[in-house]
Subunit: 360 residues, 2 copies
Amino acid sequence: MQLVDETALDELALGAAVLGTGGGGDPYIGKIMSRQAIRDYGPIQMLSLDELADEDLVVPSAMMGAPTVMVEKMPSGDDVLNAFETISRYLNQPIRATMSIEAGGLNSVVPLYLAARLQIPLVDCDGMGRAFPELQMVTHTLHGLSATPMAMSDERGNTLLLETIDNLWTETFARSITIDMGATALIALYPATVAQLKECAIHGTMSRAREIGRIIMNARRQEANPVDSVRAALDGFLVFEGKVSDVERRTEGGFARGDAYMEGIHEYEGKRLRLSFQNEHLAARIDDQFIVTVPDLIAVLDAESAEPITTEGLRYGFRVAVIAFPCAAQWRTEAGIELVGPRYFGYDVDYIPVEERLGS
Amino acid sequence: MQLVDETALDELALGAAVLGTGGGGDPYIGKIMSRQAIRDYGPIQMLSLDELADEDLVVPSAMMGAPTVMVEKMPSGDDVLNAFETISRYLNQPIRATMSIEAGGLNSVVPLYLAARLQIPLVDCDGMGRAFPELQMVTHTLHGLSATPMAMSDERGNTLLLETIDNLWTETFARSITIDMGATALIALYPATVAQLKECAIHGTMSRAREIGRIIMNARRQEANPVDSVRAALDGFLVFEGKVSDVERRTEGGFARGDAYMEGIHEYEGKRLRLSFQNEHLAARIDDQFIVTVPDLIAVLDAESAEPITTEGLRYGFRVAVIAFPCAAQWRTEAGIELVGPRYFGYDVDYIPVEERLGS
């Protein structure tokens, strides 16, 4: 068992934003909410799946929508509770713990906020080992687990309960509802037992996030190179160093979509990186050649501090380092590639693991 | 208590299509479904509100969406049950009866089908005394009754439960979900007790519909003028006689919207009628002068047989009689006009009761 106090929260939120590959929401808002909840209710218990009973029920909580809007529309806190309590009443059985459905700036800390408020533990796992833009894109789907019953709520007090025939339908309905709610919604979904999560979840994501955060903070303190420290810790690769020269961005179908362009510096001088995103970074191309794609992770970090930059935070002139690192093994199966590989997102290219492309 | 057998069903469906003012769905599909259900399960009990106990719970059932699509996508029957059973489980108390939320070709008979299948009575009332395109447009709203909990289902087996802060939000979410479901959905909503319905519902709408159907059928048999018979029975007015010269139609935001144009014959020779619709007929203009608007009823009837023509059935060359008649008194209050008057639908004109405009 770990206790998540304010220091652990800062580390966790920082590291989760790296795993969030530009998405999963703005870490700043989530951190403020969770810090306040920890101050009011005390540190949060974080348990591994092995510390829970197999029959215990776990319900993830998250925020859904375009991160661009999340920045402007901060959750009230009560709306987070509202979705969770709606599903709790509907399931009509005690919920033992909550968990993060995806690593990411906001979606790693929303469940922490909930855990603090409800005085329940957070489970040290998630459903992606990173962030993805659509809600069927979790390892639960690979194991045939249903996203529903799912509850959604907004800040006004509207709630909806979904029961769908598959997780793609859940995404379809939930996306439209999210748009009607003003582009963001609070959600509780994928109820599962600990026994099911032992099979399907990505174990240890939260402690991994915390470890990444700690490494970056230590490197900054020791005046080492934080980008290099985090790259090494993740068995990752430096893809590019450069300056953001253009960002094309549109909120479309409830997503923040677009492309960012960067002009190379140092050894990348004269080269151009194109980074495509849909809430999360999906693919990086150097001079029109694919160099990394989903499901492997692409993180854009401030070149000096290794502060992860979200897709909505990318701005002209930023000096950045782009690193890439391997996704969880579950995503590299045939079913995994079908669900979250480059072709699903419309890129006419096969998935090649990042270490095959960039390893020497 | 009345028993609705196959003959009564034919009369009711015909008369309800007149009250449906061009909307409320295609009567043919609903009639086939209900006839089969009556054959399989026997005639349906139709009770007045006074024949039920005040505390009895009543849940209306209906189809939502663009009638244009309903014609091509016939409900399976099981999807009608699905929405109703979802709300029944959620309410967790016995539902004594069902009712029609609106008079209309399909939405008068969907509850009959359900009543036959579930062997429960149909209540002789509705929430409009006619049909309207949006689901907050019921007399329940005027009395502060909530549309939710509301259940929605599609033919695939997806179901959703809504709990909203007002009935306009219900419409917003339900409309998006309907579009995702393929432009039509089966719904169960506005749960209410008999005591509440005594206050808010339009009483006797179903027996009125049946009476209208009977009058038309009798007139046809007696070779009288069915258009004139139904007009007289409704205290209505002949607005126009003519030939359909043009129909502009678009499915937009989940609605069938458009305008139909008619060239006058007989005493209307040389005049032009413009009829605007959003699922239902909303306003009629002769030579650009408003002559009838919502909430009063506009029915387009075949000039010979008085067969009501739905907005999606209007075709070039049809010879039609357009009649108009007064809406229920509840719609003529200030709150009623605000909810369903011409300005809500974007017409810059005050509501003037049809008998003031056309009465002599």
